[in-house]
């Protein structure tokens, strides 16, 4: 397969996922009970005329396919409509929340990779020893602790008892160091659950390399351990890298659960309230944005791995017979 074809195929896959996803969400929201117009006016008395006026404003009475094709048509021209709940453009409405979530997820992705890959390497190199056991058990406990409860415990210990981290909120908007400072504890909470996944993947990828012949041969030539580990890591990197999409997906999923605990105005909380409100444009946009990010990231990583691996894109020389007879 040629490079361009590979890239095109991968991106096409993303596009198809997004279209399917948008359709699924749109239809789910369509068949769901509840009426956003009614929600807007609250519990108060309201005349049918008033309701239908609001419905008309957001085209809520149109048949399903009309609504969906209108949405697709607008989305193609990057026009995502107005939030029903807020009454102004979705992108503006979501932007501050998205910024917070991206910072949080980014930070915790970074932490997860450092911790997950680091511990994964260590436990693979110490396979069967005490260190390996400890890492294994603690990562299992990490994955098995509900993140919302863990968040509260961490908050109690680190912010309240020790006063190390801020208690809540996102700090001063625009002041990046302050914002990141506020996001560290939530990021750690997310990391605890997610890094276990990376530890597992890294460990099993590294195990293959640790016992590999080339590593033994490198040792036989007295090549420094650091260099050997680096080589092994490089060889083990493909499965680790390609799991980024999965890691991102779990991170985004888990933010919903901890945003409340840390009073973080992120996308998760916004999404859940928008879903109950049936704020279709907002739900669609958030879901597609996150889906798109996850999808594009994994596509990007796949492409990266594809180019990184010389056996795929370099045309091997004519000697293909070298295959191994015994």
């Amino acid at each position: 397969m040629s490079k361009t074809r590979f890239i095109a195929k991968r991106l096409l896959e993303c596009l198809v996922s997004l279209v399917v996803m948008s359709f699924v969400i749109f239809s789910l929201l369509y068949i769901a009970p509840g009426d956003p117009a009614r929600s807007l006016v609250g519990a108060k008395k309201v005349t049918p005329e008033l309701l239908s006026k609001i419905r008309e404003q957001y085209h809520l009475d149109d048949p399903f396919l009309t609504q969906y094709t209108r949405w697709v048509h607008d989305a193609v021209s990057l026009e995502f409509g107005n939030s029903i709940k807020a009454g102004y453009p979705v992108i503006d409405y979501i932007a501050p929340h998205a910024a917070v979530t991206f910072q949080l997820v980014g930070l915790s992705l970074l932490l997860s990779i450092i911790i997950g890959v680091g511990l994964g390497v260590v436990s693979a190199r110490r396979k069967g020893r005490l260190t390996d056991r400890i890492i294994d058990i603690s990562s299992i406990i990490g994955t098995c602790s509900p993140s919302f409860a863990l968040g509260l415990v961490l908050l109690y210990v680190f912010s309240y008892q020790f006063g190390i981290f801020p208690m809540y909120g996102i700090g001063e908007p625009g002041n990046l160091p302050d914002v990141l400072w506020h996001l560290i504890l939530p990021a750690i909470t997310l990391t605890v659950g997610v890094s276990a996944l990376l530890i597992k993947i890294t460990r099993s990828a590294m195990l293959k390399e640790v016992s590999s012949d080339y590593a033994v041969f490198m040792r036989a030539r007295a090549i420094p351990t650091g260099k050997i580990v680096f080589s092994q890591l490089k060889n083990a990197s493909a499965p680790v890298l390609t799991s980024t999409g999965l890691v991102l997906a779990s991170l985004f999923g888990a933010t919903v659960l901890i945003e409340n605990v840390f009073s973080i105005p992120g996308l998760g909380v916004l999404l859940t309230t928008s879903v109950t409100f049936r704020d279709v444009p907002v739900v669609q946009f958030i879901a597609l944005m996150l889906g798109g990010i996850i999808c594009l990231t994994s596509a990007f990583v796949d492409i990266l791995v594809y180019f990184f691996n010389p056996t795929i894109h370099r045309t091997p020389n004519n000697d293909k017979k070298a295959k191994g007879a015994s």
Binding site: C14, I140, L246, T272
Partner: protein
Amino acid sequence: MESTTKDKKLKFSPAKKLELPPLRIILSVFFLLIIALWMAFPSLFAPDALSLDIHNAKLPAGSAGHLLGTDALGRDVLKLLIAGTDSAMIGPLCIAAGSLIIGLVLGSTAGWFGGFWDKIVSAYADLTLSMPSMLLAIVAAAIIGGGYWVSVLVMIILYSPFDIRLVRSAVMQQKSKPYIESTKMLNLGTVNILAKHIFPNIAMVVLVNFFLNIAYGLMSMSSLSFLGLGVGPKEADWGRQLSDGRELLSQNPAMSLSAGIIIIVTAVSINLIGSYLLERGGFDDN
């Protein structure tokens, strides 16, 4: 006796058989047995767990007759915990079983037949995997109105791609093994080969994955309960107890704490057994 290369496995396998599993595994199994008993006979261990006694509400842990205290409606927390076992475990069991069945059916046929069918199944799995699953679960559960079984169904759909991929790649791996090709040479039927010759070899991996899915299912379901998308208020349920108990944290912390601990311990036990089986099965390294 003839000796050959690679005979290492041969020499060491008999000794391993006699080894007792490590303590943590024994403890885990013991703990899960208790859980299983609670699940099977809730009314035996916790009769009338759901009956209200509003005049004895919010008793702290250690009160007379209420080892773990009572909740806001005067229900005994320990009994609730025991009675909650079945709703806490049945969902995850169904999630694991459901996604396993989907995984086995779709994964093995896709892996075995390959071609167009494989393309469709793989596309489905890839698609589902590229979605932010927990978020979708929340969206779906919230839209359809939450509820226990809706959540279970959504989780099955979201878990199945993992099983599909697992079974598919295991079957593909097995398919080209000479011993399977030999059965093809003998003109055995597809179902026969899949069921009698391939399945026994992937059973261990699948079983372990089944275990892990139960553990993750438990986590997912309690997360949904926490968001108010799980079981109703009437039923006893660990996830719900954990989040409901939060408002009683100062009056009776045992309510949240006991639920949190039991969720963690159960999930960890299942996980430990899973990874132990995986190691013993020798699948760890690949």
